[in-house]
Amino acid sequence: MIEKPSISIKNYNKSYSNNNLFLDLNLDFKKGEFVCILGPNGCGKTTLLKSIGGLISHEGLIRMQSSNISYVSQDPNEMILPWLDINANLIFPLKKEQADLSLLSELLEITQLNDYKSNYPYQLSGGMAQILLVARSLMNKSDIILLDEPFKSLDFEMSRRIQKMILKLWQSYKPTMIMVSHSVEEAISLADKIIVLSQKPASIKKVIEINLSRSRNPNSSDFLKIKKAILNEFFN
């Protein structure tokens, strides 16, 4: 029996002021899959992610297996509640008894948010705010986690730590992860599958399955081969 997809997108259409971003896109995401979407600037990656999260309107059908979704937006200020302190921001989607306190303290530790937990978001740097959003999506243990360039404003070390944490949690309960990125390396390090989108109106240019074992070494020959193949997609 074929398992129902976690997210099923049928005849997805989206346009901004007569500019078609997507024309009849069809796409399925399997349950527990870690997918990364790559594509040129302005091709609609963020728009697609927001549509999946139900944050913007669209035409066509997006069917989800679960309603427990987290979305990590590119601009953390959009989704952080500035009137709650860091700790409250992390657990606010949860009911008190649902909060996994050991996970919370682990997340605070890894993200180095521990020192800030009774501070307010405006006292955080852009990078730390981004981390807070990622941590919240992990804290929430959503079935579907949507990440829009989550490592954009993080330094190398922090980005590596958060990636490790994301992988660890993903491996522990296998949520469906969809991440939008500009970094081919990031995509290959994390994802099972990479979807490369074309210029608008965006279509699926290429789907690349990644069968490397984790954790992946960016200097290994297999890694570099995949990287080259993806970069070729962008330049032809």
Partner: protein, 251 residues
Amino acid sequence: MNSSTKKTTLLIFGFIIVLSIWIIIYLLKIYNPLILPSPLQVFKKFIFMFTKVNFIQSFVNTFIRIIISFSISAVIGIIIGLIVGYYKLLDDLTKGIVDFIRSIPGIAFFPLFILFFGVGELSRLMVSLVIAIPIIIIETKYGVIYSNKLRKNLGKLYNLSKYKLFTKIIIPEVSPYIFTSLKVALSLTIIVVLVTEMIIGTSFGLGNLLILSQFQFETDMMFALIILLGLIGLLLNLVFNLIEKKIFHWR
């Protein structure tokens, strides 16, 4: 000298300059002392008036009128503002009339309201409602409309209960707008109550006391009352700023 003590010094100095000008004008006898009393005389009066029953009575009456008018305006204004903010249809329906009423200098309603509601508290109350409510409605409405769309969507995303969505997201999102409108509404309510007290001098009130002092050429009393009103205004401002710093520090 650090910047805050410098600021305070300058602030006090400003008052001293104004006071000096007053003293000079008084000493030069440019105006009849009956019209322009000396600062000392006013100061004495200011202290003395707190011992008089009819001042205390007036003060309490005015205070109660302001509080009642303001509270009713706030409750009605916020509720309507939230509702029209949520339902665009109702906003379109009421927008024109709310804007129109807001554009009328509210005190113009007073003579009409005296006919409708009689000489007394009710017409006074109605005028302050007519002035304050539209302001609160408009700000609250824009608070709902312009508050961060994505943050409001968090409720949808995380399947929050209606109650949690309202208390954790919508109320904090809209409250700075409401707070701003309440500040404006309160100062307008104070003006309306004082002015209407001057017009119908039926019962005790600070506005009424001002007019009576004028009739009796008690200019020192008038000065004392005006200074009192100024101090109350300053105090309110201080309180509002404190609340703002305490509650809306995240803005």
